[in-house]
């Protein structure tokens, strides 16, 4: 899922400062699950924003509600009339949600209340780890299910590099060396000789480096106007 973290309150307050009618809008799917922008966090953020504005002698109202997903038009449509009542919407969705809102309703003023960090999963309660950068050309079959593009700080395809020590990455003891893990799993599965092959330079054109990506599925598109 998509992982995000709430921006510092001061930053959110500064974005909202010039406006009178503010809506803090939660999003109950990914960022709800990672406890950054769901209904509960939206309520909390709105409450903090009210206190902050009161202390700063700013008037106006801060209201709050949530959508199932801000990244789909049909969910936005359910509350569209309500949204039009506000000068500014502080979206607690990921970056996709914020953009879906303004593309669907260009007249809305929507600002991000979260920093979208990654795609990952909760490794334990309260800890979310990045596991995919969406490079568009998955290599997990070559690397025993450990992604070197995401988990190696240098995204190398022929590792581990000379900075791997005791299973940790050179940049931090808090980061596992992805290639150490790959080496371990290849050993365990009797596939260590896989590492002998020089993996060629990656084709990054399928990733963001090839420009913004659009996936099209002709078979599921709905023809219009015919």
């Amino acid at each position: 899922m998509i992982i995000a973290e709430r921006k510092p309150l001061e930053e959110i307050a500064a974005m909202a400062a010039p406006y009178e009618r503010i809506c803090v809008l939660g999003c109950n799917t990914c960022v709800g699950v990672c406890m950054a922008g769901g209904e509960k966090e939206a309520e909390e953020t709105a409450a903090l924003l009210r206190i902050h504005r009161k202390r700063e002698n700013q008037g106006g109202v801060v209201e709050v509600f949530s959508l199932e997903r801000q990244c789909e038009y049909e969910f936005i449509d359910q509350v569209l009339e309500k949204l039009k009542n506000y000068d500014q919407i502080v979206s607690l969705a990921c970056g996709v949600g914020v953009q879906t809102m303004i593309e669907h309703v260009p007249s809305l003023r929507v600002v991000p209340g979260l920093n979208t960090t990654s795609m990952g999963y909760p490794t334990e309660q309260g800890v979310w780890a990045e596991r995919c950068v969406g490079c568009g050309n998955c290599v997990l079959h070559l690397t025993m299910g450990v992604c070197p593009i995401t988990r190696c700080c240098k995204s190398i395809l022929n590792g581990p590099c000379g900075g791997s020590a005791e299973g940790k990455c050179e940049i931090s003891d808090d980061i596992d060396c992805a290639w150490h893990l790959i080496h371990e799993r290849l050993s365990a599965f009797g596939r260590i000789s896989d590492l002998e092959e020089i993996q060629p330079p990656k084709d990054w054109s399928s990733s963001h480096h090839g420009g913004p990506r659009t996936s099209v599925r002709e078979d599921v598109r709905i023809d219009s106007g015919e």
Partner: protein
């Protein structure tokens, strides 16, 4: 003969090869670098010129390398994959050749997180293995990584680095073999302080006959002070310093003298290890001691080939 560099000639002659290291400054005045180059010119066969080492912005490796060429000296320019994509790297390699540079050392480079621009975007378009293979193919197959042909042939002597002190230890010889396959003619190792571990690694290297396929140059660094030793132990990526060595420096009355003694002893021991082709001396910020080290290690004068 591949590129006819002095480094290559000395290696091919079978004599114990010696390289030094010069770190470009954080400014465009390279007087000091030229001075250090002059200082050790009779004592080394070639000089590594680091490429923004530890991710700190410095004068470019190729610019300094070109200056050395003009001085009649021989640079080994380092190229990392941290700051340049394949377009820029291949272009720079063409440019380096046009400037008379004949030796290239391929490495990944310390992560940008370590340096003075930690907010920068790391490139890592290709890795160090792909860099080696790409440059080998440019030279031997006359084609760029993307497959396009070069308009004129390339010629350079290619090297890579190896870190016998990194983990997993058992993979370190596999990786060396892979680097040879990718195109390395010479190897410079990470600084050797744990000579036992290095010897163990060399044993594995010899068992596979790899020392006959590539010239392995052991890396050494003279320890200038106890603080420097502790700093390297704790902060420099890929370096291990045994506690016994720290204790030895700590117990010495004159730390600098002891640091030099350790360095000279290490080089003497390296010369006795079968399959070690030479030494790479990294006396960064202490360049003036290189002639003394080389002489005391019995490696002076250098061969004129």
């Amino acid at each position: 003969m591949i590129a006819g560099s002095n480094l290559e000639k000395v290696i091919n002659s079978g004599k114990f090869v010696v390289s030094g290291e010069l770190g470009p400054p954080k400014g465009s005045d390279i007087t000091q670098l030229k001075h250090h180059a002059e200082e050790m010119k009779d004592h080394v066969d070639a000089y590594n010129i680091t490429d923004n080492q530890t991710a700190i912005v410095r004068t470019s490796s190729i610019a300094c390398g070109s200056t050395l060429v003009q001085m009649g000296l021989e640079p080994i320019i380092q190229i990392t994959v941290r700051d340049r994509n394949r377009i820029c790297i291949q272009s720079d390699v063409l440019g380096a050749q046009a400037l008379g540079i004949k030796n290239i050392l391929c490495l990944s480079g310390d992560h940008q997180n370590f340096g003075n621009e930690p907010a920068s975007k790391g490139v890592y378009d290709i890795d160090s293995m792909q860099l080696l293979k790409g440059l080998k193919d440019m030279r031997d197959e006359n084609c760029f990584i993307g497959g396009d042909e070069l308009e004129s042939p390339s010629s350079y002597y290619l090297g890579a680095v190896a870190n016998p002190f990194a983990d997993p230890f058992e993979y370190r010889v596999d990786r060396l073999e892979k680097k040879i396959k990718a195109g390395a003619s010479f190897i410079q190792t990470q600084c050797i302080f744990d000579i036992e571990r290095f010897e163990k690694w060399m044993e594995m290297v010899r068992a596979r006959g790899l020392h006959k396929k590539v010239a392995i140059m052991g890396g050494v660094t003279p320890i200038k002070s106890l603080g420097a030793a502790r700093y390297m132990k704790n902060n420099v990526s890929g370096i291990t310093i045994p506690d016994s060595l720290i204790e030895r420096i700590k117990g010495a009355e004159k730390k600098k003298v002891e640091g030099l003694n350790v360095c000279v002893e290490t080089i003497q021991r390296l010369q006795e290890i079968e399959g070690v082709a030479g030494v790479h001396i990294m006396a960064i910020a202490w360049e003036e001691v290189v002639p003394e080290i080389v002489e005391r290690a019995g490696l002076y004068p250098r061969p004129k080939l």
